[in-house]
Amino acid sequence: MSSTRTLGGSAQRPITIAVLAMGGQGGGVLVDWIVDLAEHNGYLAQSTSVPGVAQRTGATIYYIELFALSHLSAHANGQTRQPVLALMPVPGEVDIVICSELMEAGRAMQRGLVTPDRTTLITSTHRDFATLEKVVPGNGIADHHAVLSAAQKHSQRFIQADMQSLAKSSGSVISAVLFGALSGANELPFTPTAYEETVQRAGVGVQASLKAFAAGAKVVAQALAAAPLVDAADPMATAPQPLPQRAASAAVEPLRLRIETQFPPHAHAMLGAGLQRVMEYQDIAYGTEYLDRMQAVYSADQNAGGAARGFAATAECARWLAVAMSYDDVIRVADLKTRPARFARVREEIGAPAGEIVGTVEFFHPRLEEIYGLLPPKLVRTIDGIGWVRKLLTLAIGDGKRIRPHTLRGQLMLQAMAGLRRWRRHSLRHATETEHIQAWMDKVVATLPVDYALAVEMIVCRRLVKGYSDTHARGSSKFDQLMRAATLLALQSDAAEQLRGLRTAALQDAKGDALRAKWVQLGLPA
């Protein structure tokens, strides 16, 4: 791969450039710069675009053709022969493709604009997720690895970097970084100075633009020294930190030791994360409860021949049991909203220096169910029958609360709510959740010796239960449905695979259309 191929175009054909950008990314500015650069440096430039409705968040394709004035020759009659320039990129005939986002690079490839005999592909690798990726209740994010490796395959030269973050750190916009990358790529017959002069001529935000431009130009050199192109890790997953050598609190040390000595090593990190979560959530005793339950699963795992399967059941259960035991409630939310680390994060998010006055307004809107959840079961049974109490409570909740944790009043309110932790074990919600968890664990333990893979799937199904109010209810009902499916499928040889299919379907849309379809497809009773 040559790093210094310079396209000059020829007397026979122009230099062709396609720019794919999303609305608001300054694709038009980038194109204007390229045109200005060419026109000031001895080239004819023609650019076109098809914005249409794509001006609103959709994607726009711009197309530029450049032709050296030096290649113009005169007719017999003395008139200069003008080149006839095309108005749209032609698959297979594009020299440079510039994309302001990774999936736009994918789109350029799908259109055949990127070809290995000719095209230099310059793209930002950052993601601006499309709506269809975002609305999925689970993880609907497109596979960026596929696009990156396709880019390497389809392009002659591939220049990639997270240009969005470079733009941000330069206090400028992505178009300036891309312009820098184009300069650094050294594909066009123009000097870096000529590029910089173009930015200066534009006269808007010149200093920031030049800084971003320089960052973009430098990226190319770094990309050529290329670190591994495709990062194998899923960008949306976080690995747990390793189990510490000693617990931070002496009181927790026995529990840490218990993980270290009584559980398989590769589950240690996740067990640590799980233990931390449930103790933060409730107390050390709750941590003991967590490990007791885990112990039961682990011994069932051992008996079921889990060693041969790397104790997959124990490893998965370490995560999902912790999630189940730390079910989302008002107490936990209040606790999280009062943490000092969160205050720092909020400041960082808006870029406010330490001395500045920064506060937040929190949107709380518990339903009557959430209030009931906090009370002891007996009390709920008593008062729920009384109309005026119900009315009074509903009135008290009203249209929700706006709480400001940076004020003394707000902080006290939230800490008081978080303090309800001490009564949590006696609440209606806790009783319900514990019962639910126990039933689930019992089923898992009972299934392990019969169908190990199915038991693992049953553990992972817990992923469906999340959130508050309606979201929680929706997830729980799907989870219960899958547990029912597990029972129905129990004796089939591919039960685990089928349950996994159902779970994937359940995470595809909120209304459960995909799950229903899959359910019917598997011939399960309604």
Binding site: A11, M22, G24, T48, V50, P51, G52, V53, T57, V84, L85, L87, M88, V90, P91, M103, G106, Q110, R111, G112, T115, F129, T131, L132, K134, V135, P137, N139, I141, V147, A150, M236, A237, T238, S249, L255, A269, G274, M279, E280, R319, A322, D328, V333, T338, R339, A341, R342, V346, E349, I357, G359, T360, V361, H365, Q411, Q415, R463, Y468, D470
Partner: protein, 755 residues
């Protein structure tokens, strides 16, 4: 105030004659209008000619200097009727709009204009919105030219040809007393190129002179018996005059080629891409030298019979390149050749696709078919059609030739998801990315005040069940896309309410119709609201009032709450609606208040009141607002004034990763990120830097009782001394409470760092 300012660019309109003018197509057209001595210009905005209106609007000082009158018309019909100033007076007038939608609206006036004929040159510049990126149904303006007997120019897509067409358009119009349409394709409107300028001219005869010495002539009015005579006049006088002018001034172009028994006839607008396709076959060079003779019709209508016959002389076959359907030119050429007894075979839509845009790839295919039939040897020497691939992948990939899609599969689309999929381009290359690269249909902007209206509508439907919702043209049509999936029809600009007209019978549910403020003033006030009052409709009409004609680029309209030195604004929609007899009107002045929006819609759908119920949802277009407000805030901060800077955020630890908020909002700024929590593998919601703190996400989470992870950050810039004191005190107290809590947390912690 329009979305894009051309204040700097319009200075080029003053360029000295003989200057090389560099710029966009629409700016070049404006310059050519001034060079032509135009007396008045009008039009209605819409892609791809929105910017032409914006340029004219920003050029008002220059227009005034030259004595040119400009007005943004109420609709395309108004614009077309405006041209009647050129019927009796020798004044050149030009109007512009998006076609074919605008031409549909204008067609009544156009028919009358064309029947009586004109004295001053009348030029209609139409933005032919056909092909990729088009926002309307795919039709051709050509039909209008034919039926009303107006001439249609389709110049080669370079600025020299386009500006020349403006000049010749006026001259042709005057020579044949006929209005002339100048067609600008999408890419020509936005093409950046250059041409050499001429001198700007003041109109020879002014509107003032016309007003002060009026003239009338009954024979020019479309009334019998004059109307009947017009029909003959069009054919017997005006047509021959036009043909004469076109021939004499050589508006169409002939290019020789060495393969002289074959030829290509094409519309001017198709020239550049056809040449590129010929180049690919080795049949032409970059400078327009073609081995096949070319006849380029810069005048699409009328077709000049003598020129066609001259071109076809001695030719075995010609290929007609004409985009879209029906194949008007092909049919005409068959007639001409057949009547003359010429034995040239005419090919066209048998070798090129009947429907859809003629991309270079499509043209390459058509030319290959033509050459393969008549001169395979020429094709054999040419470059291959397919692009070069890496050898190892060559066998795995099917032939590069794209497969034409039957139109029926596109019509059968039912779900919005399918519509999104169908809107995506044909997937030819990189098949390994099929199903991976997500489609990116247009949607509401960050902070858009329309999004909460549709969130509210979603919530109302969750309560009251699904309703029939009639959509309209405008940004609000994006509600049809994910995540809202709202809107069952779109019948035309301002026709939201009227498209629910039939659904006015006793039923347990009412219809909902949506209309934008742009559509409302365009025609919706009469066609929708007046109609609903008169016919005692019982449905609900939601008028989206965002201060501007937002979808076309944020132009001012009657109800704009903005000062405009040239126009009269601040005319409230509510007053107009009450004026035509609507009794039940609710105006929501802050659409971001999803709860109020939801309750208002709920009330409209459930009230006992019989009759049309109009909900006016009023908040300023975010694009315009940000452009207006951002510099003001920055300046205020700089001046040291107290400003509270707001942004929304999501607590990753609290967010459940279910994304219900995104399904109810769809804000581009509301996105996803890694939860940062090993226990939470699903990505969590995240508000990115694009947030303009409209508050919609928080409101929606609150109204739908979703989750408490949303918060609004308030950063007080330039606080008062008192605020600083309070803040210091607060921080101490809150900090002490937090430390206390942190110690308790540490006492039950495995890790040193607790977040």
């Amino acid at each position: 105030m329009a979305e894009r300012s051309f204040a700097a660019e319009v200075q080029q309109l003053r360029a000295e004659p003989g200057t090389v003018f560099r710029g966009e197509g629409i700016l070049a057209v404006t310059k050519a209008l001034l060079e032509s001595g135009v007396g008045y210009v009008a039009g209605y905005q819409g892609s791809p000619i929105s910017h032409l209106m914006d340029v004219l609007s920003d050029a008002q000082p220059i227009l005034k200097e030259l004595g040119v009158h400009f007005e943004p018309s109420a609709s395309e019909a108004t614009a077309a009727a405006t041209l009647s100033a050129s019927v009796m007076y020798p004044i050149r007038g030009a109007v512009t709009w998006k076609s074919t939608v605008g031409t549909n609206v204008a067609s009544d006036a156009l028919s009358n204009l064309a029947s009586g004929g004109v004295t001053g040159g009348a030029l209609i510049i139409i933005g032919e919105d056909y092909g990729e990126g088009s926002s309307i149904m795919q039709e051709r303006s050509h039909a209008f030219a034919m039926k009303s007997q107006m001439w249609l120019l389709d110049p080669r897509p370079n600025l020299t040809s386009i500006t020349q067409a403006v000049h010749t358009g006026f001259a042709l119009s005057e020579a044949s007393r006929t209005p002339v349409m100048l067609q600008m394709r999408v890419r020509s409107c936005h093409v950046h190129g250059s041409f050499v300028t001429q001198e700007n001219k003041r109109p020879a005869f002014t509107l003032k002179e016309a007003l002060e010495s009026p003239v009338r002539d009954t024979s020019r009015i479309v009334l019998p018996p004059a109307a009947y005579l017009h029909e003959h006049e069009k054919i017997l006088d005006r047509w021959p005059a036009a043909v004469r002018y076109i021939e004499e001034h050589q508006l169409n172009e002939f290019f020789d080629g060495d393969i002289d028994d074959l030829g290509i006839i094409m519309l001017g607008g198709m020239y550049n891409n056809t040449l590129r396709a010929l180049m690919a076959h080795g049949m032409a060079d970059l400078f327009g030298n073609s081995r096949l003779p070319l006849y380029v019709m810069n005048v699409a209508y009328p077709v000049i019979e003598s020129e066609v016959l001259r071109f076809c002389e001695g030719k075995k076959a010609v290929l007609v390149i004409e985009e879209g359907q029906p194949e008007y030119h092909e049919q005409t050429l068959h007639t001409i050749v057949g009547r003359a007894g010429v034995r040239t075979t005419i090919h066209g839509k048998d070798m090129l696709t009947m429907a859809g845009e003629y991309t270079v790839t499509e043209l390459k295919k058509g030319l290959a078919a033509f050459l393969d039939r008549y001169r395979p040897s020429a094709l054999a020497q040419a470059k291959p059609l397919a692009w070069v691939r890496k050898p190892e992948s060559a066998s795995a990939v099917p032939a590069a030739a794209p497969v034409a899609k039957a139109p029926s599969t596109q019509i059968a689309v039912t779900s919005p998801q399918a519509a999104v999929a169908a809107a995506a381009p044909l997937r030819l290359a990189a098949p390994e990315l099929n199903g991976i690269v997500p489609p990116r249909p247009p949607g509401f902007c960050v902070g858009c005040p329309e999004r909460p209206i549709f969130s509210a509508m979603t919530l109302v439907q969750e309560q009251l069940g699904q309703h029939h919702i009639a959509g309209d043209i405008g940004c609000h049509l994006f509600a049809a896309m994910p995540p809202f999936h709202i809107g069952a029809s779109t019948m035309g600009y301002g026709l939201g309410a009227s498209s629910a007209a039939a659904l006015n019978v006793d039923a347990s549910k009412r219809s909902i119709a949506i209309m934008g403020d742009g559509g409302f003033w365009h025609n919706g006030l009469t066609s929708g609201i007046g109609n609903a009052v008169f016919n005692k409709a019982d449905g609900v009409i939601v008028i989206v009032d965002n201060n501007y004609s937002a979808a076309t680029g944020g132009q001012d309209i009657l109800s704009s709450r903005a000062d405009n030195t040239h126009r009269s604004t601040y005319h409230a929609i509510e007053t107009a609606v009450r004026g035509v007899g609507v009794e039940w009107v609710r105006t929501v002045r802050h659409t971001y208040d999803v709860t109020t929006m939801r309750n208002t819609l709920n009330e409209a759908l459930t009230t006992n009141y019989k009759g049309p119920k109009v909900v006016i949802a009023q908040s300023e277009c975010s694009l315009n607002k940000q452009r207006r407000v951002k510099p003001q805030i920055a300046a205020a901060v700089k001046r040291g004034e107290r400003v509270v800077k707001e942004k929304f955020g999501v607590d990753a630890a609290v967010c459940s990763g279910d994304h219900a908020c995104i399904r109810l909002s769809g804000c581009p700024s509301l996105t996803l990120k890694n939860s940062g929590d090993p226990l939470k593998p699903d990505p969590v919601a995240h508000v990115d830097d694009g947030c303009v703190a409209c508050g919609h996400c928080g409101e929606v989470a609150d109204a739908a009782v979703l989750c408490p992870s949303f918060y609004r950050t308030e950063w007080v810039r330039n606080p008062s001394r008192w605020e600083r004191t309070v803040d210091t005190w607060r921080r101490k107290a809150v900090g002490w409470l937090q430390q206390r809590q942190q110690r308790a947390l540490q006492a039950r912690s495995l890790y040193v760092e607790v977040l």
